[in-house]
């Protein structure tokens, strides 16, 4: 893994203006001062429930959403100081892979047309001709494991979910991205085909040094793509725990991380549940007051948790950080059974 941090984000804040409806009558602060880094060719995962703000961060990074405050450094350059146009130009190298491969491809355009649209502009920038564009279109399709002769002339509705997601990745590759932001990129794909997409992302990172930001609730998938990477656990717009992937899985100290990890299905017969596994049944309630945001759902919460907001501190070493008053490592993930015959 490279030593330089390709992307460094500090104190990112995003507030969505108030909207009608019973649930959201006041402005929603979706991201509350989030800081993280993505190393060159690194793998970073954001995990958390739906609505925790992880998707918003991905959309900000890919230029689809603005942010209210905070700094984004990209290869050492502060994007906040750039004009919106220049910022957009830089952020083009960070490409989003959306969750829904059915919505991400234009139903009225063939795969050929879909790939040619961005390639036309790439060709203009690099002063290449049409031949180059066509070769490049075929090349990116081959990179994602599709046969160009079969796919190019087709419309998206003629492809399966897995094939579509591969086309989406191919399209992102046309601009030679530095970072791919995969937002639940496999959750709508048949489980049997998911691994193929994950392996592809893994290969792109290994062979072409494309860094991955993997936004997901499926921690096992995040681990598969980047077990040497880093996981950030996000709860209601804040990072509550961060550590190297395997360390976070083996010894999570924040009760929220433990709840998320407990939720991983156990393959009974092959695995046994972790001894401390516990799944909270309640739906998430927005915390009020100044205390820990997770306190209302936390089964270990004490009075201090409700009164006082826990600061971010290190656990055992600098790389493993959390925001919990009473950090306790617990074993919650499924453990493989011994005999496998």
């Amino acid at each position: 893994m490279g030593l330089i941090n390709m992307i460094e984000v500090r104190g990112l804040v995003k507030t969505f203006p108030a909207r009608g409806g019973l649930l959201s009558q006041k402005a929603v602060q979706a991201v509350k001062g989030v800081s993280f880094t993505i190393p060159d060719a690194g793998a970073v995962a954001f995990i958390g429930e739906s609505g925790c703000g992880k998707t918003t961060i991905g959309r900000i990074l890919t230029g689809l959403e603005t942010y209210d405050s905070g700094e984004i450094y990209y290869n050492g350059q502060n994007l906040t100081s750039l004009t919106p146009r220049e910022r957009q130009e830089r952020l083009r190298k960070i490409q989003l892979i959306q969750q829904d491969p059915y919505a991400a491809l234009n139903p009225a355009r063939t795969i050929y047309q879909t790939l040619m649209a961005p390639l036309t502009w790439e060709a203009k920038r690099q002063q290449k001709n049409r031949d180059w564009m066509e070769r490049r279109a075929r090349e990116v399709l081959e990179l994602v494991g599709l046969n160009p002769d079969v796919v190019l002339g087709k419309y998206p509705h003629m492809l399966s979910g897995g094939q579509r997601q591969r086309v989406v990745i191919a399209r992102a590759l046309t601009v030679q991205p530095d970072v791919l932001v995969a937002d639940e990129a496999v959750s709508m794909i048949d489980v049997s085909l998911r691994l193929g997409i994950l392996t592809l992302l893994q290969a792109l990172r290994r062979d072409y040094g494309i860094a991955l930001l993997f936004i997901t609730h499926d921690i096992a998938a995040a681990r598969y793509i980047g077990h040497d990477g880093r996981v950030y656990v996000i709860y209601q717009g804040e990072i509550v725990e961060q550590a190297a992937t395997d360390e976070l899985i083996q010894s999570p100290v924040h009760p929220y991380t433990q709840a998320l990890l407990s939720a991983i299905p156990v393959l009974r017969g092959l695995e046994q549940p972790g001894p401390d596994r516990h799944i909270p049944l309640g739906e998430f309630a927005l915390a009020e007051g100044n205390g820990c945001r997770f306190a209302p759902r936390c089964r270990f919460a004490e009075q201090r948790c409700r009164d006082e907001k826990p600061p971010e501190v290190a656990w055992q070493h600098e790389e493993h950080r959390h925001t919990c008053h009473y950090p306790t490592p617990r074993r919650v993930v499924p453990e493989p059974l011994e005999a496998k015959s």
Binding site: L91, A103, N106, A108, A117, P118, W132, E139, L152, Y155
Partner: protein, 300 residues
């Protein structure tokens, strides 16, 4: 990075079925569509080559005024003894060309303004929608009546322009609302993320998704245009410079007294039946539009 090692694979352009090929398959799927197409092509040919078949000044025959249909005059004659068939054939060009122009103007303005308004939102949207509301409140037909007093409608393009310019409001509204829903879709966000310019997103990514809707609107606008102009001529509010179907209707009713005397009936009915027939053709053909322009309905 990746781009530098290009494998020298032979270039094969993707095989795509041509539009004509698809169109024919769609149309031939139902006899009604073929009938619609035949009717439309028939009238289009009439408009294009019709005037060439007859002398500029159609011969008159004082011995056969308001003659009933016969071998010589298949559709009868008018007040001067001119063949109604010749009048229909030579009059088709003005009517159809003006209606086509009207439809093209309607679709062009309606689609462009709706797309731009719906994609950009903000101030551009506000201004464009105010203009659209203004256009929607203009009563098109009375405006034409007023305009005709100062404007010479001898050229069909002028007529088409005026009909189009007053008629695009509704389409603009509809296109805008479709754009609003399409711009939130994943593929539009992806296009923005890829740094595509706005006009490419609007016209190459969003517009094709409305293909069927716009094509149908074009056809419907043509029939609308025919009704409007024929109506104008029928009422006699537009000066007659050239022969056309509307003029025929007017003369048949007000000069020939076709409402009272059966003599002038062939003179009245021939343009009327043509209009009905053309409308029927359009309606029958309309059904094919969705499949022709909607790639989702195409097979693998």
């Amino acid at each position: 990075m990746i781009a530098e090692q290009l494998p020298q694979t032979p270039l094969v352009r993707p095989h795509r079925q041509s539009f004509l090929h698809i169109a024919w398959r769609v149309i031939s799927a139902r006899p009604s569509r073929i009938l619609g197409l035949v009717i439309i092509v028939f009238f289009a040919l009439m408009a294009i080559v019709g005037p060439l078949l007859y002398p500029h000044n159609l011969p008159i025959n004082p011995n056969a005024i308001y003659a009933p249909p016969s071998l010589r005059y298949p559709l009868g004659t008018d007040f001067e003894g001119t063949s109604n068939l010749a009048l229909i054939v030579t009059g088709a060009r003005y009517v159809l060309f003006a209606a086509l122009m009207a439809a093209l103007f309607t679709v062009f303005f309606g689609t462009t303004i709706g797309l731009v308004s719906g994609y950009f939102l903000g101030p551009a949207d506000t201004i464009l929608m105010r203009i659209t509301d203004f256009i929607l409140t203009i009563p098109g037909f009375p405006l034409l009546v007023v305009l005709s007093t100062v404007w010479n409608f001898g050229q069909p393009i002028a007529m088409g322009f005026v009909l189009g310019i007053t008629g695009w409001g509704g389409l603009a509204r509809a296109v805008r609302s479709q754009t609003l829903s399409l711009r939130e879709r994943g593929f539009i966000e992806a296009a923005r993320g890829l740094g595509l310019p706005w006009w490419q997103i609007v016209f190459w990514e969003i517009l094709p998704n409305m293909g069927p809707y716009i094509a149908m609107n074009l056809l419907v606008s043509i029939t609308g245009g025919i009704y409007a102009e024929v109506g104008l001529f029928y009422l006699g509010v537009v000066p007659f410079h050239v022969n056309n179907w509307g003029v025929m209707l007017n003369l048949a009713v007000f000069t020939g007294g076709a409402m009272q005397s059966p003599q002038a009936l062939p003179y009245l009915l021939s343009p009327l039946v043509c209009i009905l027939l053309l409308t029927l053709g359009v309606v029958l053909f309309l059904d094919a539009m969705d499949e022709m322009f909607n790639p989702r309905l195409r097979e693998g």
